[in-house]
């Protein structure tokens, strides 16, 4: 499973829409959607910081490591 994103849960808890969060963080809805649906390959610290700021949470609230098969193998090069 690897890293699981809990943006859905946090949005519900904060009563915030994806569009609203995207505007506040300053990234596109498409990009935020990629993150929410666990399709992202990497997250910038600046994005993570902005998400935590707007959602008033810790990185650990947003991301969780779940034991099991990873989405992909780490690059060897």
């Amino acid at each position: 499973m690897g890293i699981v994103v809990h943006l859905d849960r946090l949005l519900v808890e904060r009563k915030m829409t994806l569009t609203e969060l995207a505007e506040r963080v300053g990234i596109t809805i498409a990009n935020l959607s990629v993150f929410k649906t666990n399709k992202a390959k990497a997250v910038r610290f600046s994005t993570l910081e902005a998400l935590c700021r707007e959602l008033r949470c810790q990185p650990g609230d947003l991301l969780e490591y779940v034991e099991g098969e990873s989405k992909e193998e780490p690059r060897s090069d």
Partner: protein, 219 residues
């Protein structure tokens, strides 16, 4: 060593619309249509040969030859010349096909060669379209470059072996006076080099594509 300043401000636009790549793409496009015309002409000539008199169709095979010593003289009144050598002599041996089967085999060989050229130009066309569109790092281009490199190497190796076998056959079966058909074992190192360089560039494209995909999925 640091990159020269102003490297980004290139005078010539290399990829994208109205770039060097789009001009080269046009050249490839012309080559593509010329190749198709060439294939039609060759196929037409082959079919005509098969239908009319297959045994009398003349086939020219390139050979390397060596002149027999004594069959030529080198002299000068002005200079002191001590002998000499004639190097890299080549020509063509005109062979009559002899039978329909021989001609068919010959046409199949030519057809394979033309097919390889067409396949390479076809892939080049697609490659240059992506370059002109400004999107070079796509997985299809990795495959295209590998394909082109592999075909170039394979055709050169195949042609080298074929030239060798035919020259051995001709030496054994053709009597010549004044010259000898040489055992033809020459390959064009530049062509093989280009083939291997393309395989390396394909790997660079693979890594570039991975990086682009990763960048697109970075939030």
């Amino acid at each position: 060593m640091a990159a020269p300043e102003g490297l980004e401000d290139r005078v010539v636009k290399v990829i994208g619309g109205g770039s060097l790549a789009s001009v080269l793409g046009l050249v490839v496009e012309v080559a593509w249509y010329l190749s198709i015309v060439g294939v039609i002409l060759v196929a037409g000539a082959g079919l005509r040969g098969l239908v009319s008199d297959p045994a009398e169709v003349r086939l020219d095979w390139p050979v390397s030859i060596e002149l027999d010593r004594g069959s030529y003289e080198i002299a000068s009144d002005q200079l002191r010349v001590e002998g000499g050598r004639l190097l890299e002599m080549s020509g063509e041996l005109g062979l009559l096909s002899g039978s329909r089967g021989f001609l068919l085999a010959w046409l199949m060989l030519g057809g394979m060669w033309l097919a390889a050229i067409l396949a390479v130009i076809y892939q080049l066309r697609a490659l240059f379209k992506t370059l002109a569109a400004g999107t070079p790092f796509v997985r299809a281009n990795v495959w295209r470059l590998r394909f082109i490199g592999t075909v170039i190497i394979a055709v050169e190796v195949f042609m080298t072996l074929l030239r060798l076998l035919v020259s051995l056959y001709l030496r054994a079966n053709v009597t010549t006076t004044g010259f000898t058909v040489k055992i033809d074992f020459r390959f064009t190192a530049e062509i093989l080099f280009v083939g291997f360089v393309l395989l390396v560039i394909a790997e660079i494209f693979r890594q570039g594509t991975e990086m682009r995909e990763e960048q697109a999925l970075t939030v």
